[in-house]
Amino acid sequence: MPETIEAIFKKHGRTSDELIPILQDVQKEFGYIAQESLKKISRYLKLSENLVFGVASFYTQFRFTEPGKHAVKVCLGTACHVRGGSTLLDTLERGLGISCGETTEDRRFDLERVACLGCCALSPVVQIDRDIYSRMSVNRLTELLKKYE
């Protein structure tokens, strides 16, 4: 049972510098920032909805649609790029039939790109949920996806 948004509010003060930590907690709990959450946050902090959405949409961390079951993140840091990270992304886009930033129709996978996971020496890397897979190739990646139901 997820925590209610009111329970999250209790952990934070009502000053505007709490906005981003609240957004982060809400996303952690619900997986995304729903429009309803935006409204509640705006009321709690006494900030306009406009402003709350303006801040939230500025940062890549926040998403406004419900996430899929597995989050697939392709690292496109420099080291991964020069070792073929973008080819991996192409493969995934084609294999899953979605573009970067979208969710598959069966809600099984989310596909995202990240700037750098900091595992550059093991590039190219792909992260699925919390696991980081290093030294990926197109064919290994195709095999790997089958493991995730």
Partner: protein, 627 residues
């Protein structure tokens, strides 16, 4: 005797018995990179092994010791023997190592990488004498991979917090600033501004409340020095914050760290709790007048927040957009109060300077560029990893002596990430210091070094960097918002083989204008990768434009895949992996590749390269594009 003294005495005792261990110790390199390579799986296997064999052994997770390409690393220290390191351990070699070393007490020379300490084993080299380690000077990274990052006692035992204790008990804040001035420390975040100058301004600014922010928003793609340092030795960074906080007269410290680094955040939180337990945070630390608290603020994913004023905006709960300066944050920063923002590495350096004195620190580096610098050495290099060298070391030494050279022929090295420049072979003897790099059109940056060989397309790389900064541009000022977009569009055209010679002039003009007109560091440095590559690799641009040729066979529109009939054995591997059915042909006969169906996904190329019989039967070619 106060709480901390007791803790230190206890810690030293514990450390001594740890060095003189009565039962085997197994070290697992379990920083993020080690984990990505499978360190945690190995940990489970080791646990199972010692349970099954009923062996007594202590297992500790340590941070990153540097040679990431050798991950996962497992070290074993038997009683009365030096610690031996094993590299690229997998399930199979692990059981061999454990049987040989842990059960029979014989270090496995064939699988071992090196040993620590002077006296060792026959056939196993000394760890610090390895080619990658020997030319390095470890000041900031001195504890990384050696101590348990989750145990404050181990940090205390290796003279941790001694720098801070010295500062707070024997020195005034002005003395501390003086020592940092003598040491010649410059900000390690990239710009290299003298740390003491910034501090002095903040110290002398009026205000009861001052803030110290540690910038751990390591956004440069291709850089992971700060992550490694925090994961491996978090207390060193936190001690640096205490020292800086004392010097500038701040009572609140904030670590602004990327949310993409969950392990580093976890380690910091844990370390802060330990500091509180030891009386190193809170009111009147060590019965002095100095009170200090540290909290963690997670970034939300915006590269521009590495810029000081944007970072402050982000902490205040706003969109992370830079402001024009002055006023500088040292005078009016977070919530309008005087604020100092220092990089993680600067913090990690401070304890060493305070503990050993300014004179000791000036032994490293050269006039104007004192001390050491950490780099993440990655790309097409033989030995990628985290390194630390004296400022002034040449690129050649870093790439060839430490990095073991390039996989194929060296083409270029990018310093400073997306804000830096791309340097060609003629710069190999360039000394890595702030001024020399700037003179070559690049920057020191926070320390990402990306090496490229002939398989990297320079134009594609320049496009990659600019595409990155363009996406990360906050959109506040026109030169950056509109200018970078235009540059990306031109570069896209060129990589698609649709460029024209005037494009190069347009790129330069745009680049120069953005540099002059942009509001913050992100925009002012964004054109650097394009401007430097235009300068040093103009021919590659011209080849793309005039001959529609990408010599590195990277730009998709300019390449095609071909099956070499004479080499193809008809093994059908490529037929199976081809997602569009572009490759056809019966078994044992050379296959056909239908170029109209080929989407250049590389699947066949990869499969074929690993085929022992066929070898390179599939090639990627580039040539004149028929229009």
């Amino acid at each position: 005797m106060n709480k901390l003294d007791k803790e230190i005495t206890l810690a030293k005792k514990k450390w001594a018995s740890f060095q003189d261990n009565k039962e085997p110790i197994i070290y697992i390199g379990a920083a993020s990179c080690g984990r990505a390579a499978g360190a945690l799986d190995l940990r489970t296997r080791i646990n199972d092994f010692i349970e099954e064999k009923k062996v007594k052994a202590t297992i500790i997770e340590v941070g990153c010791i540097g040679p990431c390409y050798l991950e996962p690393l497992i070290d074993i220290k038997m009683p009365g023997q030096p610690r031996v390191s094993y590299n690229n351990v997998n399930a199979k070699t692990l059981s061999i190592i454990l049987k040989s070393h842990l059960i029979n007490g014989v270090a496995h020379a064939k699988l071992a990488l090196g040993h620590f300490g002077k006296k060792g084993f026959e056939g196993i080299p000394q760890f610090y004498e390895l080619p990658m380690l020997k030319p390095q000077v470890r000041v900031v990274l001195r504890n990384c991979g050696l101590i348990d990052p989750e145990d404050i006692d181990q940090y205390l035992a290796v003279d941790g917090y001694q720098g801070f204790i010295k500062a707070i008990t024997t020195m005034t804040p002005d003395d501390v600033i003086g020592v940092v001035r003598q040491a010649g420390l410059r900000g390690r975040g990239g710009a290299g501004f003298p740390t003491h100058k910034k501090w002095a301004v903040c110290r002398n600014s009026p205000g009861d409340q001052k803030y110290l922010i540690c910038n751990a928003d390591e956004g440069d793609p291709g850089a992971f020095m700060n992550r490694s340092l925090i994961e491996s030795d978090p207390h060193a960074v936190l001690e640096g914050m205490l020292i800086a906080g004392y010097a500038i007269g701040a009572s609140k410290g904030i670590v602004y760290i990327r949310a993409e680094y969950p392990l580093a955040i976890e380690r910091l939180k844990f370390a802060i709790k330990q500091m509180k337990d030891c009386g190193l945070l809170g009111k009147n630390i060590l019965r002095s007048d100095f009170s200090f608290d540290i909290r963690i603020k997670e970034g939300a994913g915006a590269f521009v927040c590495g810029e000081e004023t944007a970072l402050i905006g982000s902490i205040e709960g706003k969109r992370g957009m830079p402001k024009s300066r002055p006023p500088f944050p040292a005078i009016s920063g977070l919530f309008g109060a005087p604020t100092i923002i220092n990089n993680v590495e600067t913090m990690g350096t401070l304890p060493n300077i305070l503990r050993n004195g300014a004179e000791w620190y000036t032994k490293f580096g050269k006039e104007g560029n004192r001390g050491t610098k950490t780099f993440s050495l990655v790309g097409k290099i033989r030995r990628p990893g985290l390194i630390e060298v004296q400022l002034g070391t040449s690129l050649r030494e870093i790439i060839f002596d430490i990095g073991g050279g390039v996989q194929k022929n060296f083409k270029a090295i990018q310093t400073g990430g997306p804000s830096g420049g791309c340097l060609s072979e003629e710069f190999l003897d360039l000394a890595v210091d702030y001024e020399s790099l700037a003179a070559a059109g690049s920057i020191m940056g926070s320390g990402g070094l990306i090496v490229m060989d002939e398989d990297t397309c320079i134009v594609d790389l320049a496009k990659y960097f600019l595409d990155f900064t363009q996406k990360e541009s906050c959109g506040k000022c026109v030169p950056c918002r509109v200018g970078t977009r235009h540059m990306v569009e031109i570069l896209e055209r060129i990589t698609h083989g649709e460029g024209n010679p005037e494009d190069l002039l347009a790129l330069r003009t745009l680049g120069d204008t953005i540099k002059k007109g942009a509001l913050c560091g992100l925009g002012q440095t964004a054109p650097n990768p394009v401007l430097t590559t235009l300068r040093y690799f103009r021919n590659e641009y011209l080849e793309h434009i005039n001959n529609h040729r990408c010599r590195a066979t990277v730009c998709k529109e300019l390449i095609e895949y071909r099956v070499i009939k004479e080499k193809c054995t008809g093994c059908q591997s490529c037929v199976r992996v081809c997602p569009t059915g572009a490759i056809t042909g019966p078994r044992s006969e050379p296959h056909n590749l239908d170029l109209t169906k080929c989407i250049k996904c590389r699947s066949c190329y990869e499969i074929c390269r690993f085929d022992a019989i066929a070898g390179d039967a599939i090639v990627i070619q580039t040539g004149e594009k028929k229009s």
